[in-house]
Symmetry: D3
Subunit: 237 residues, 6 copies
């Protein structure tokens, strides 16, 4: 359930019988022909659908992440790493102070992954009541990636694997066909200015899209895998 | 228009003829019987409705703000001030780097107001192309407050003035009637623990609600005032 | 009493029967024809006069504040907000650790007001012995502003309302007459370089001065209002 | 070549014809029966051996990394993430300012991997002369891990895969045999205190050691893989 | 001249023919029977007297310094080092931006000396117009210390060497005689709590006072030495 | 003993009967014709030789220090002061958390000395079990400096006093003779760019070298003085 569909008293009641909470973390950044919000939209949606039958509250997605390499594409936002770790630290501190003991960050943006360093630091602190924190990048988790690989192993930024009905935007037609994939070692080393030249439309390659039925297969796998994580992914019960 | 309903190319096109952008800033915090997202929901909604006819892009609301005094109410989040100023600095830096020259922060949470200190510091820097930044707390701006005062001068946290159809939650009935207002100088000085005692249900007093027609009057004033700001509130054109 | 007129043993004795302390916060910045120290001089002086009959110790004024928009006027100083909040945090931490339980910041500079964000964060922490912190901008507090409004509603930076015998400097004659007020929304948005052009002599408008008797009226109101605050402004006794 | 075996004039000469430099990053932390310096020793040694025939200078290993989960084992050190990113930022800034254009961080400690977030931020900045930064965890790079897997797929902290003649210490006999592997999801979630109970001797499982010939095979693969990286791993030449 | 006795236009005129400025840095901390402001009072006064005939502007003393070891004595203040370096950095940045090219920090408190690390970092930056920054602890500079040594080599915190007519306070009689000096290596290693036990009255030993004529000798030496520094202590003219 | 020649269990055993540890702190920076690692090499070596007969563990040298004025000489590294104090804070926190109660920083680089500010702040905190921290610059400690002064009072950066068999490098012949000493007040005020002009080869003057027998005399004094510190330099036993 979205925590925005609840008031604080309902969350206090929830804490009487459960101690889990979900924080989706995304990014606002160029995704080629797709929505600037793709990573945040998908992270929040997959989290909400996964958590729904379990009754676990889902915070609003943190819409801004670490995307310094895309900031030359208008509409892309980015937080410095030094900022981002303080945001996550603050949220974990507050969450832990309210009695939550299991926190899942459901991530939609590859550039956010290094926040695991802060999480590991945070969980290393000894607490009277330990708090477990999972970091799960839903889009390349094993089951979801396997589902996508049934269609293509090329699963890149701004490509088909992010092209859902809910990430397309009005007034922009996604091209047919595909483009040459940009090697990851290249996109991982370009400056924000070079990136614009290397990726003129912002897609990093492969098919631009696939049939909705294929996308639903990927999505269903994503939702199930997050749900399984929320049910069974903890070392503490 | 919500920037999430656009892709980066559409924003680049937009920058050919306009240089305005809106960042709603809210909070995830207790609002008595109302949604934990009240401040973020209202800030984003009022911004989107105001900007719609002007075609100005609206970023997703920053859902977490400075609410240290409410963190003992489950589901409330808060960023430290040292964190919050870095978040806003980062976003302004990126926004300015993309050619936006007029930025409106539409704020839904009183505790965020001190961010004006950072904004003033940021705008004091000399830039070849100056960037203007407005900070507008929509709910107590002159026209909106005047509209609300037609019904009651008691306009407090978690009270009637935040009770819209879109901030009420399922499964929680807002009480009839009213409660004694908490003096502002008291709520401004309590620790997070004392706050729970002083405000058992989280509302700071006055009527819990008013008829939808009254609320629409307030809302309409809020939307118009933000729109006027976006059209005429700048010293730079 | 000025804490500089006391030694630590006298302060320890004082803490046996009282728990109040005053920290004046000012700024070193251009004030047109008036002293570069105007804000610090006035904040400290009003605090000392107000506290004298109450026997409350007054720290030396923090002479540097947040004045990024004036730094192109020689002799003006400024601290970044990220610095300023750490200064105030450090002082509050030390003060609280010594047994003071009521702290009044008497402020003389508008640009310092956002420090209330840090203060609210600091007071939100739960402490075994709560510490109350007031932030009082003496020059525009209700009674003082009302006293000044008896003479003119134009009360702007570097204008008559700051022109006391103790803020004038040798060798500089303050002009007669008045100048057109600069709109606040303009001065609030200019870069440090633009400010010099917009305000050639540094005064933001209105009368340059008024008769000493008028000024004494304003001053007396200021002193009384601070004294009332120190006596009756606390929610904790 | 170790940069400590050179003076600055020799490095200036080197920059006339090459622009590469290596920074080994390690950790000082418990490694079961092995040296507290295992990660730093191995990272520096593999870097030096790899760089030797290429004539590339190798900085001294940064001996302290992010190991918050091991700090209850005496002799283990750790830097907070907020500290670590500033250390790496400072070093990269200085290195870039001297004309180096290709920097390889050869890493010996898993906990350091999130520094890639800072590196990506740093390389995203547009520079007149771009600087490429590689981050290479030598011990689990593809060729090295494959070489190790010829002997066992269990390659865990403090186990056989780190047990070289140059990481064993006098006066401590490494046990024969093996112990049950600790699941990675468990070691990734324990607090620093829990870690001591979960891993009484500090080894995370599998064989404690293997014959020197096996180890040499792994080592040779590691050196060759780092050397290949230094020769061919760059997108800029 | 005190900069507070000037307005910005006078400072701008001054910059037409000179580029020097003085920043006294002190501390608010226990000084035994003497004023809590001893270090700030002396630093500002010696700077003002030294600068007077030279016409160099003297900023107000920064009244708070690094005194963590004295914070258990009521009325003592302290800034963390991480705060203090940002304060000094901010002031130097602003000062340099206004055309001052020679800055003298006249220091009255031993605990502030490590700020030289920040100063050296700041001056190492290459600037088109170099700015020289001197850090001068007036009380133990060679000539001043020599003058004091004519009377006694025991020159310790809170002792005779700080006992001037302008650091004594009403209502507190300084004892006759002397006490056993506390060894510096002891006072340099005590925690804030231990310090209170080790130094019950806050004086670190030696004579409590000396005849006014002796004190004047020391003072005159201090003023002359600061004046000589301001005239001849620069490597840049 | 080098802590890298030990495993954690051996350190835990050591803590049963002793509570001392040594952290050498150096710098990687130009030293004229000598090794870029001179300061780190000497600090670690003198610490290891001094501690050996006492059985005290010696951490690896922190190889990077505060050397902002040398960064225009290739191969020189530097940490900002804001970074450096966090590194030392982190290490002290971890060390104290493991039961060490006496920590000696053996320093080889003059630019690191201001870290004493952080150390004093750290030791001022009240702890149930106090931790003593010594900071010892071995090369200019009284006995060592006296030993060197038997040969020459000119003891400058990159000069004879740092020219040991273990700081010379292959392929670089140190010149015979001597050069004019650079005044300390000059080298203390130059920017990083000016430094290269003022000191073309990086040596700050005096003899370039002296006979090995002289150097051994200095070295022996250095080792003995550090050893005496480790045995007798503490106020806590």
């Amino acid at each position: 359930m979205k925590i925005y569909d609840r008031n604080w008293m309902q969350i206090e009641d929830y804490l009487d019988h459960d101690d889990r909470i979900v924080l989706p973390v995304g990014s606002t950044e160029q995704h080629g022909y797709l929505s600037l919000g793709t990573d945040a939209i998908l992270a929040e949606r997959v989290a909400v659908e996964a958590a729904e039958p379990l009754g676990i509250p889902v915070l609003p997605a943190l819409p801004f992440g670490m995307s310094p390499y895309f900031t030359a594409y208008p509409g892309s936002m980015s937080l410095r790493m030094s900022t981002y770790i303080e945001v996550i630290r603050d949220l974990l501190d507050v969450i832990a102070g309210q009695g939550f003991r299991r926190v899942a960050l459901v991530n939609g943006h590859g550039g956010n992954a290094p926040i695991t360093g802060l999480i590991r630091e945070w969980t290393s602190v000894h607490r009277d009541e330990p708090v477990e924190v999972l970091f799960h990048s839903w889009y390349n988790a094993p089951q979801t990636a396997a589902a996508a690989s049934r269609f293509s192993d090329v699963q890149l930024h701004g490509g088909w694997v992010e092209n859902f009905a809910w990430t397309r935007v009005d007034g922009a037609e996604v091209p047919e066909g595909s483009i040459e994939p940009l090697p990851r070692e290249v996109t991982a080393s370009l400056s924000r200015i070079e990136m614009r030249t290397a990726s003129p439309d912002g897609s990093h390659g492969g098919d631009y899209g696939r049939p909705d039925a294929d996308m639903q297969t990927v999505w269903d796998a994503g939702v199930l895998e997050v749900r399984d994580l929320l049910e069974n992914g903890w070392i503490r019960k």
